[in-house]
């Protein structure tokens, strides 16, 4: 295996880690208005990802930095070409962070409601747009001989990409619902469980439609053969397993199943891309690949060493932080005095 391939795999891992982790953050944010009845409920939901969301977001920052270092042309073409969607994602992530960090710092109900909007849209928009972006990667966008994006904003919003957006949106929402089942107790858990069970069917329809459309709109069948192989099969099995475990009320296993669905689904997408990273719809000769978009071998080698050293350490302490906060949250875990000002206990 050459260095370029290893780096393609490493960046796939970073994105898969991002979608697995931020996937449930996004899902939790999207479900916030639907699983809570009062402010305490909403705080239970928000705190279910409270200690984690920022660390999860770093997977995206790292993926961005790694693409810059390993495949500078991919970085340059992608972010200058997908400019406005990325801009929207950035704005959404900013508002989401404000919603998390500052919501409980101001008591006014109007402010809290505004933060709930930030959390919802700040989760909804990226959850949708990442699907749009990846569908466009595999479908191909107008890229010229100079490696620059030659299309406009509307090129990115084609039907296939929009369906991709719906797919990621529904899978992340399902993932978030199952995560809430795992992290909470009582009514919030019941509601999240109900939503997960009801969402499974419609999401399956979207997934099937996206897969079928992909068969027509992309060159996946050439890439992967008529019998697509084990990864799609594993994705389907894990998706079915979600429903089985939801019915059995086995939250932990259901969460593993949604996680594996995201993992195998993303692997299928990256398999379909390989060895390309961004397809040109104008001329196959102008595809960006792991070879023409890459850094020098020395840079790839240096960064490989750094990644092999630090990624296991990161997995270690991030895993530990999940272990520290493994207890399920209840309405009782929300302290009444979170905002004690001037010595007076305030209900928040």
């Amino acid at each position: 295996m050459d260095l370029n391939t290893i780096w393609f795999i490493l960046i796939s891992i970073l994105f898969i880690g991002y979608f697995f982790l931020e996937g449930f953050d996004f899902g939790v944010g999207i479900l916030l208005p639907f699983v809570s009845r009062d402010d305490t409920d909403r705080r239970v939901v928000i705190n279910s990802v409270g200690p984690f969301w920022d660390g999860n977001e770093v997977w995206l920052i790292t993926a961005g930095g790694a693409i810059f270092a390993a495949f500078p042309h991919w970085y340059a073409t992608l972010f200058s070409g997908f400019y406005l969607p990325l801009f929207l994602i950035l704005i959404a992530l900013i508002l989401r962070a404000v919603g998390f960090e500052f919501r409980s710092k101001i008591e006014a109900p109007r402010w809290r409601r505004m933060c709930d909007q930030f959390l919802f849209w700040g989760s909804f928009i990226p959850a949708f747009l990442w699907g749009v972006a990846f569908a466009n990667f595999v479908r191909g966008v107008p890229i010229g001989a100079d490696m620059n994006y030659a299309g406009g904003f509307w090129n990115l919003l084609n039907p296939y990409a929009l369906l991709g957006g719906l797919t990621s949106l529904s899978v992340f929402t399902l993932h978030g619902a199952v995560f809430l089942c795992l992290r909470t107790e009582g009514e919030v858990r019941e509601r999240a469980h109900g939503i997960a069970a009801r969402l499974w069917g419609p999401a399956a329809v979207i997934l099937i439609a996206f897969a079928a459309y992909g068969y027509v709109a992309t060159d996946f069948h050439q890439q992967m053969g008529v019998v697509p192989g084990t990864m799609p099969l594993l994705a389907i099995c894990s998706y079915i397993a979600i429903l089985v475990f939801l019915r059995m009320e086995r939250d932990g296993w259901a969460f593993i199943a949604t996680s594996l669905t995201i993992l195998f689904g993303a692997v299928v997408v990256f398999e379909g891309l390989f060895p390309r990273v961004l397809l040109s719809s104008l001329d196959p000769a102008w595809h960006l690949t792991i070879y023409n978009a890459s850094s020098s071998p020395l840079t790839l080698k240096v960064m490989l060493g750094v990644a092999l050293l630090f990624v296991p350490i990161i997995l270690g302490y991030q895993g530990w932080s999940y272990y520290v906060f493994r207890q399920r949250l209840t309405r009782e875990s929300i302290p009444e005095h979170a905002l004690n000002r001037h010595g007076q206990g305030e209900k928040t």
Partner: protein
């Protein structure tokens, strides 16, 4: 109507200067919170725990603003500067990716653990969490400054395939510019954090609010700031000397020096006529620049006219003189404020030694207002460094005009510019009002501020 290049530059300037309000502040503040919690760990006194919680709360507000504005930075190079990204990715991407792997993950994960972990973690482990946050913040600036130093003084590269490719990693890690600019910038962050704690403490002391808590906070901040501000000056001097050798044009602009001089005089005041390459109403002190630049009385310092000719000979015709007036005055503002910070912290230490820290209201008034000044000094320093490099993006290798994204038009840039400006403006108002809300002294009739939930249970 501005063109895409100007818009992209303005956008980078606005987003970066804004981001750079919070970064130095949280660099210093995280250290101070870690120090305060260490006092708590050693003494077990509730006062220190309260102190940690109080400043920790302000730290988290400001850290959040640094994080959200930092995400934009990670992607902005690709969005607005794709030409640059293609040219430098091989080298510039390395520190950026390492920064995420070694610093951002540590900061974000351990901040979560620290914030929510007061009751869940053993005391020593919990203390280690805030120290990891503080050290990772400084480590992150090491990597980003290594990247910036390479733009100032490119080393360890070879021009191949139309871009700068990595040749010698060690040369990049030991870039002399980085070695002087990293301590200078981090220490400036410590001064920023120190004066923030000092200023808010002074404000509360002025109103005789929680004198126990804020006098002790001020004392810790004073020691911290005095050491850091002296070190900032020393490292700044070293950096200027290094600039004479590696970026003579920047130094000449900092000094408004048009003609080569040896012995060189230092300008105290000047109005610049950039078009005619001369200064009007100038006051210069003989020999001083030679001393500053070379530590002797006769050393020659090249002027911008000669350097312009040299640049033209090497890189073809063009205007290689940076915007002199901004660089010249930013430099003076930065140095002037730096000296003021040293005097302010030394004076505070003197007051403390004399037992009058809480009673000298004149000093407290000045100190409480001085908390805003480091931001001016930091921004001025950034302007000297980045505008003094113009017209180059990578000094001597890539011009700013060649770095901009060719496919991003003014319309798109106006949208993102408007979007970021509005959001950042709202964030500023929000951040300011939150800091004000949690930092202000209790008003007459209000009970004094306590962190009554001393168990530290935290929830959003």
């Amino acid at each position: 109507m501005m063109d895409a290049l100007s818009l992209a530059r303005w956008q980078f300037g606005i987003t970066t200067v804004y981001h750079f309000i919070f970064v130095p502040l949280t660099l210093g503040l995280s250290m101070l919170v870690a120090i305060m919690q260490s006092f708590y760990y050693r003494t077990g006194k509730d006062l220190y725990k309260e102190m940690t919680l109080f400043w920790g709360k302000l730290f988290v507000i400001l850290f959040t603003l640094g994080v959200v504005t930092g995400i934009v930075q990670e992607f902005q190079f690709g969005m607005n500067w794709s030409g640059y990204s293609r040219f430098v990715g091989d080298i510039f991407g390395i520190p950026l990716a390492i920064e995420a792997l070694t610093a951002f993950f540590v900061e974000s994960t351990f901040l979560g653990l620290w914030l929510f972990g007061w009751t869940r973690l053993p005391k020593a482990v919990h203390l280690a969490c805030i120290w990891l946050v503080a050290l990772a913040s400084s480590l992150s600036s090491v990597w980003i400054l290594l990247a910036n130093a390479w733009m100032q003084v490119p080393v360890g590269y070879v021009l191949r395939n139309g871009r700068a490719e990595l040749q010698d990693l060690v040369a990049i890690l030991l870039n002399e510019r980085a070695l002087v600019q990293i301590p200078h910038t981090i220490l400036a962050g410590f001064v920023t954090g120190g004066l923030f704690v000092l200023g808010i403490s002074a404000w509360n002391l002025l109103h005789k609010h929680r004198a126990d808590l804020f006098a002790r906070s001020a004392q810790i901040a004073l020691v911290f700031t005095a050491v850091a501000s002296l070190a900032v000056a020393t490292t700044g001097h070293t950096q200027a000397q290094e600039t004479v050798a590696t970026q003579p044009m920047k130094l000449a602009a900092m000094e408004g020096l048009w003609e080569t001089e040896g012995p060189a005089s230092m300008s105290l005041f000047a109005l610049h006529d950039r078009e005619n390459m001369s200064s009007i109403r100038e006051f210069r002190m003989p020999y001083v620049l030679s001393i500053l630049a070379h530590n002797n009385l006769t050393g020659e310092v090249k002027g911008m006219k000669e350097l312009q000719a040299e640049m033209e000979a090497a890189h073809g015709p063009g205007d290689y003189v940076p915007p002199v007036a901004i660089v010249y005055w930013s430099f003076r503002l930065m140095v002037g404020l730096g000296v003021f910070f040293i005097l302010l912290s030394l004076r505070g230490l003197w007051n403390w030694w004399a037992g009058k820290l809480e009673t000298r209201t004149g000093y407290l008034r000045v100190a409480s207002l001085a908390l805003f000044l480091p931001f001016a000094a930091n921004t001025a320093g950034w302007m000297v460094s980045e505008l003094g490099r113009q017209p180059w993006m990578v000094y001597g290798l890539l011009k700013t005009v060649d770095g901009v994204s060719p496919v991003v038009g003014p319309g798109t840039l106006w949208i993102s510019m408007a979007g970021f400006t509005v959001i950042y403006g709202l964030l500023a108002a929000l951040g300011f009002s939150l800091v004000y809300k949690f930092a202000r002294p209790a008003r007459a009739g209000e009970p004094p501020r306590t962190m009554a939930h001393l168990d530290g249970t935290h929830a959003y």
